[in-house]
């Protein structure tokens, strides 16, 4: 019951300013990290004959990072609507678990809830841990709008300078490093303090998910890994 009212109280509290002071550098770093990825998407899409309006629409309605990148070659190869939907669902299947895990924190207003769910991303999820509902919405929508903005900017740049980028550029690395930092920070803080995670348990988790990654690949390893890790973790913690 307390959780029901916790967010409202936090939003109205005097410590809000201090909290947003903490939030700003996190958001700026996240934007710095996703901007090259988003611009690369816009750049690549434009070179694959997508118009600026289409780049805007796909970032707005189909916001999904890796799913967007995967959809480009599928579209070029003439894949059907269902094939594209299936592949992108598999690639982003982790969001099912992620969305489920933070559904309680979402606003009660149905429309806002739907929008807030649609704009959920990896970086936003990692940053919003431990923050209240209002901060969560700010984080999600800021990253979402930045993604659209930089995607469109990437498309415009591709129109102006089509040969600007080398083919083998790894623009996603800042975003990966940010996510890695946030994941490590989460694991060493909240669950560790509650006895949920320890070094041996984390190692076991990496071994299991690594095994699934090697056997099933980067697209299909998510759901079985999350289910098995959660089951093991639940069974190990039951006695506590």
């Amino acid at each position: 019951m307390m959780n029901k009212y916790l967010n409202t109280k936090k939003v109205l509290s005097a410590s809000n300013t201090a909290e947003y002071r903490v939030l700003l550098p996190l958001l700026l770093t996240a934007i710095f990290a996703i901007a090259p990825v988003s611009m690369l998407f816009g750049f690549t899409a434009y070179k694959a004959d997508w118009s600026i309006v289409e780049i805007f629409l796909v970032s707005l309605l189909g916001f999904s990072g890796s799913g967007q990148f995967a959809a480009l070659p599928l579209s070029e190869s003439g894949a059907s609507f269902l094939t594209i939907a299936f592949v992108t669902t598999m690639i982003n299947s982790r969001y099912f678990a992620i969305s489920l895990s933070c559904s309680k924190k979402l606003p009660k207003n149905k429309l806002l809830k739907v929008f807030a769910s649609h704009v959920l991303g990896d970086e936003a999820y990692a940053i919003e841990q431990g923050h209240n509902q209002r901060a969560m919405l700010i984080i999600r929508f800021t990253i979402f709008l930045s993604w659209i903005l930089f995607g469109v900017a990437g498309g415009i740049i591709a129109g102006l300078f089509p040969n600007l980028l080398p083919d083998d550029i790894n623009a996603s690395i800042p975003a990966s490093l940010v996510l890695l930092f946030l994941a490590i920070s989460y694991l060493q803080n909240r669950p560790y303090k509650s006895g949920l995670i320890t070094v041996p348990k984390a190692t076991l988790g990496f071994l299991i998910s690594g095994l699934f990654y090697y056997t099933l690949g980067g697209i299909y390893f998510w759901i079985p890994s999350i289910i098995l890790l959660s089951t093991i973790s639940y069974l190990l913690n039951r006695k506590y």
Binding site: A33, I173, L177, L196, G210
Partner: protein, 98 residues
């Protein structure tokens, strides 16, 4: 135009299925299920995030860029650095070494 519009619709459908629909299932969770969803599930997800980021890099062969991942670990766990410093140091290290 029509083809690209169908791609956009396919991605929208994906978002609805994997993000919007699960968020609407919020009622009638018992205490155990709530603990599983709010505590255990995020921990599993973050472990998978780390695997998802590190393994592909290792699968490409152990090159010097792996030091940027190690740098993130050291800066986050031992030195307790902030996000900005860690990202700047590790990103610079990655592009210098790779």
């Amino acid at each position: 135009m029509v083809d690209n519009f169908l791609v956009i619709l396919a991605l929208l459908l994906t978002s609805v299925m994997i993000r919007v629909l699960p968020s609407l299932f919020t009622i009638n969770f018992g205490a155990k299920a709530q603990y599983l969803i709010e505590e255990i599930l995020p921990t599993s997800i973050f472990i998978c995030f780390i695997t998802y980021i590190v393994i592909p890099e290792m699968a490409n062969g152990l090159n010097l860029s792996i030091f940027s991942f190690i740098a993130v670990g050291i800066l986050a766990v031992i030195l307790k650095s902030g996000l900005i410093l860690t990202t700047v140091v590790a990103t610079t290290l990655y592009y210098v070494l790779s």
